[in-house]
């Protein structure tokens, strides 16, 4: 019997060794990047998560692209453009040498087609709304959705939308109103082009109206079969126009990118291959970097990040960087629910939070305590030039501070009286209700919530409960405004203060506070349409003052930093305020290509 067990075991081990030894293996890529997750998609219009959109930045290129140093839009597929005096008409002139990764020339019609797809709600892109600035784009989008809902609404023909090709090299875009950041979004999700013949061949270009008709009518393989729609981004079908193409994608193992030989600027791309690995465990991400298994990774475990920060400050390491990001960590207040429906209460809660202590004692990675909603460490990066070439910098209000005495006064103004230290204030004979801080499962959210709860209890005598929820439940409750205080964060999608402030307009889906302020909405709308850069920044700053100084539907806590580890053998990857790794700018310091 034991012999049987031994022989069986030996056979299994030998078989395994043989299978694994015979597995296809390729050498190490020039650059190996460890991401925290696998990409859910590489379809440029469906990418949502930052690790996907950042990778897509290397696979697709818009009419303009972002300069790796300044993040400003510079010519991409379009070699130049004209803007009309009223700022509503853009004419792009495409490069003759721009090619898809299969060698096909890129024409203006490719962009018309791609933007039509991007504006098709059936595709379900999260970023379609960024294109609503184009004339009739919103009407087109909504007409399809209404048609699919009721079957009666006619779909607005796409020719009515303000995008048209004037020959193969000229693309004319008409906007609803002037848009200060239109060029900034051209190198982002909704504006990246897709290769229509490939997407059409696989059924991924325009999905059928409703797939739930599979049951109840004859099955139509061409229309209904989802078996090919997802293949458009696979190496065997992939056609992009960025600096790299997808050479190999082994799910959950790695994505190998190879230099796109047809890229118009291929000469400037110095890496031949890049591997992108999904490494979910933060400890493993750090260990892999330390042992040289990969060259670039982000977000080491919090404790390690704090230690690395100390080492960098002491000058003992130079491969780690905390980069200020255009991103804010904040708490939302439910403005429809007692007691946070009173702005004096919200102000009191905000004044009682020592943001500096949270940044240094809880976070410890050079985060900056928030003084407004738009991060001031990034305003220089957001500076804009006016038509006369003058440089304008956005000045967010310096509105938030830690002042427990003022916090108590604000609560007192709201009618709450303090009886004895440590016990909750009282109003009309009723004690201040228990405040619940809601957050999704994450150690950092929990630590911050504990710190805030302690501060509110210590300075205002409030009783605070922490509510840790699973992600899907968390966002469902937040969307339904079923909370008192909830944690939030926002990473701007383009380099503009408006990309942070539009969130809290009354009808925006990100608001989720129940707060509605006509003056704020009007200021944001006026700023959106304002051509004068200086005036626009003034309008935005005025709106931000309402947001963080007067009304406070949100309580900004700190500005994010991006923790990045970059190996010394890689050059050209400069951290930036949007944390985009511009892989096409990377190079090996020593030409010791493995």
């Amino acid at each position: 019997m034991y012999r049987l067990v031994l022989i069986g075991a030996a056979a299994v081990l030998a078989g395994l060794a043989a299978v694994l030894s015979l597995a296809r293996r390729e050498g190490r890529a020039d650059l190996v990047v460890a991401n925290s997750e696998e990409c859910r998609t590489l379809d440029p219009h469906l990418a949502t998560w930052t690790h996907e959109t950042r990778l897509c930045q290397s696979l697709y290129e818009g009419l303009a692209r972002l300069d790796p140093q300044t993040l400003r839009p510079v010519p991409g597929v379009a070699e130049r453009w004209d803007i009309s005096d009223d700022g509503t008409a853009y004419t792009f002139y495409l490069r003759t040498e721009a090619r898809w990764s299969n060698g096909d020339p890129i024409t203006a019609a490719d962009f018309v087609n791609s933007w039509e797809r991007s504006l098709n709600p059936r595709i379900g892109s999260d970023y379609s709304s960024l294109l609503f600035v184009i004339r009739n784009a919103r009407a087109y989008y909504e007409s399809i959705a209404a048609h699919d809902r009721n079957g009666a609404t006619p779909i607005l023909p796409f020719v009515n939308v303000g995008v048209r090709a004037d020959g193969p090299r000229k693309l004319v875009v008409e906007l609803e109103r002037p848009c200060a950041y239109f060029l900034d979004i051209l190198d982002f999700v909704p504006c990246w082009p897709v290769h229509r013949p490939t997407y059409e061949r696989l059924g991924a270009y325009a999905w059928p109206a409703s797939l739930d008709r599979v049951v109840g009518r004859p099955y139509d393989a061409g229309r209904d079969d989802p078996g090919r729609r997802h293949l458009a981004t696979r190496p065997e079908h992939f056609v992009g126009n960025g600096a790299f193409r997808v050479k190999d994608w082994q799910f959950k193992r790695r994505i190998r990118l190879a230099k796109n030989p047809f890229y118009w600027n291929a000469e400037a791309v110095r890496l031949e291959t890049i591997d992108v690995l999904p490494v979910a465990d933060a400890n493993t991400r750090f260990l892999g970097f330390e042992t040289g298994a990969w060259d670039l990774t982000t977000d080491p475990p919090p404790r390690v990040a704090r230690r690395l920060t100390e080492l960098v400050h002491a000058g003992q390491r130079d491969d780690y960087r905390n980069q200020d990001l255009l991103a804010t960590y904040f708490y939302r207040f439910n403005c429809t629910r007692f007691p946070t429906n009173d702005k004096r209460v919200r102000r009191a809660l905000s004044l009682a939070v020592d943001r500096h202590a949270i940044c240094t004692q809880v976070m410890g990675c050079d985060q900056t305590p928030a003084t407004a909603f738009v991060p001031y460490p990034t305003v220089e990066a957001m500076a804009k030039l006016d038509r006369a070439g003058r440089r304008h910098v956005y000045r967010p209000p310096n509105a938030l501070r830690f002042d427990p005495e003022a916090a108590r006064r604000s609560l007192f103004d709201a009618g709450w009286t303090f009886t004895r230290p440590g016990s909750p204030p009282i109003k009309d004979g009723r004690a201040f209700p228990v405040i619940e801080i809601m957050y999704n499962t994450d150690m950092r959210h929990e630590l911050i919530a504990q710190a805030v709860a302690k501060m509110w209890h210590e300075h205002l005598g409030l009783r605070v409960e922490l509510r840790n929820l699973e992600l899907k439940v968390f966002y469902e409750r937040e969307r339904k405004c079923d909370y008192t205080v909830t944690r939030g964060s926002w990473f701007a999608d383009y380099l503009d203060p408006g990309a942070m402030l539009f969130l809290f307009t009354s009808d925006d889906g990100h608001n989720r506070t129940g707060w509605s302020c006509r003056a704020y909405d009007d200021l944001i709308a006026a700023a959106e349409a304002e051509l004068d850069v200086a005036r626009r920044f003034e309008l935005l700053a005025e709106a931000e003052r309402i947001l963080v100084a007067d009304e406070m539907p949100v309580m900004p806590i700190f500005y994010y930093t991006g923790s990045t580890l970059i190996s010394g053998r890689i050059g050209g990857l400069r951290p930036n305020v949007r944390n985009i790794p511009f892989l096409h700018a990377a190079y090996l310091r020593q030409e010791d290509r493995p």
Binding site: M1, Y2, V5, A9, V12, L13, L16, V19, L20, S21, A23, C39, R40, T41, L42, T48, W49, P121, G124, S125, D126, S128, S129, Y141, E142, I144, A145, D148, W207, A209, S210, L211, D212, V214, V215, D224, D225, P226, H230, L231, A232, F251, K252, R253, V279, A280, D281, N283, T284, L287, T291, A293, L471, K472, V473, Y475, E476, S489, F491, G509
Partner: protein
């Protein structure tokens, strides 16, 4: 015997239907809006498109009982709700072989280690070896896998870098996750083996064998082992099914592209189609491995005969 196997296999579809119904019920009852992605708000139009794409606009009963099975039969696949570029069949087809290979390795290591330690401990009962084996078994069972995984990773990949920091594709990458995965199973098997071996060694037929002049080695390996191995054998069935469907922690720490992370994440992310696919696979494995163990049992133990009921 053949009739027994056929009968058990015929029960499989029924078991799968029950498991499917239970899983679908739990998924339908699970709180949270699975179309919520994150901070970025989903527009009502995009939400509508996703609901239609995954038939979320239908009543759950119709969706789970009619639409998904029909779509599965018609298209031989279901789209994953989480991964746009991969289907449920593809994900399982890519991940399961990895879990299977890692699991086989871990199972073999656990079986060899567990039975060896258990036998030695029983034979040298009360000795230092026995106490050491009990201690190791206790540690293996009580130490959480995430602790073991991180410790071995730090020791053998960073402090003493002789093995790679996770990944998949070479025999070297199999060792650390395989050993980590095997440890709790090895510990449990060692305990089972030790207890049973002690029991068996005190029985009459062992005394008879000794009296007839069998060597110590013959008595232990030739006579006692066969009987003492039976509890380990019956543990192998469910252990194999569990081990082959992957381990969330081991896969996460050693970045193994196996099924375990999908099993946990699909439920967490509300990827209902993928969760159903993996649960059905798990149920099938459980039935098949239990059947295999039952058959092996009959082969090994002469007291057990499969009879027609």
């Amino acid at each position: 015997m053949r009739a027994f196997v056929v009968r058990r296999l015929l029960q499989l579809p029924l078991i799968l239907v029950v498991v499917y119904a239970l899983t679908a019920t739990l998924l339908a009852l699970k709180p949270g809006d699975i179309l919520e992605g994150g901070e970025r708000a989903v527009t009502p139009e995009a939400r509508q498109a996703r609901m239609q794409r995954f038939h979320m606009d239908q009543h759950p009963l119709r969706r789970f009982a009619v639409t998904y099975p029909a779509e599965l039969i018609l298209t031989r696949d279901l789209p994953s709700m989480e991964y746009n570029d991969w289907t449920v069949t593809e994900i399982i087809a890519m991940s399961f072989p990895v879990s299977l290979q890692l699991g086989l390795f871990a199972l073999v290591v656990a079986l060899l280690g567990g039975t060896a330690i258990g036998t030695l401990a029983a034979v040298a009962r009360g000795s230092a070896l026995d106490h050491a084996s009990v201690a190791v078994a206790l540690l293996g069972i009580s130490l959480p896998t995430f602790v073991i995984a991180e410790v071995v990773l730090i020791l053998f990949a960073a402090v003493w870098p002789i093995l790679p920091v996770g990944g998949w594709g070479s025999p070297a990458q199999l060792i650390l996750p395989g050993l980590t995965l095997s440890l709790p199973f090895m510990a449990y098997m060692a305990r089972l083996m030790r207890a049973e071996m002690i029991d068996v060694l005190g029985q009459d037929f062992i005394r008879t064998a000794r009296a007839k002049g069998c060597s110590r080695r013959q008595v232990i390996l030739g006579h006692a082992f066969q009987v003492a191995f039976l509890p380990v054998l019956s543990f192998l069935g469910p252990a194999a099914a569990g081990i082959f469907t992957g381990s969330f922690v081991v896969e996460k720490v050693f970045r193994i592209p196996g099924l375990g992370t999908h099993f946990v994440n699909s439920v967490k992310n509300g990827d209902q189609t993928l969760a159903l696919g993996i649960v059905l696979l798990y149920a099938t494995l459980l039935v098949v491995f239990n059947l295999a163990v039952d058959v092996a049992y009959a082969e090994v133990d002469p007291r057990i005969r499969v009879t027609r009921r």
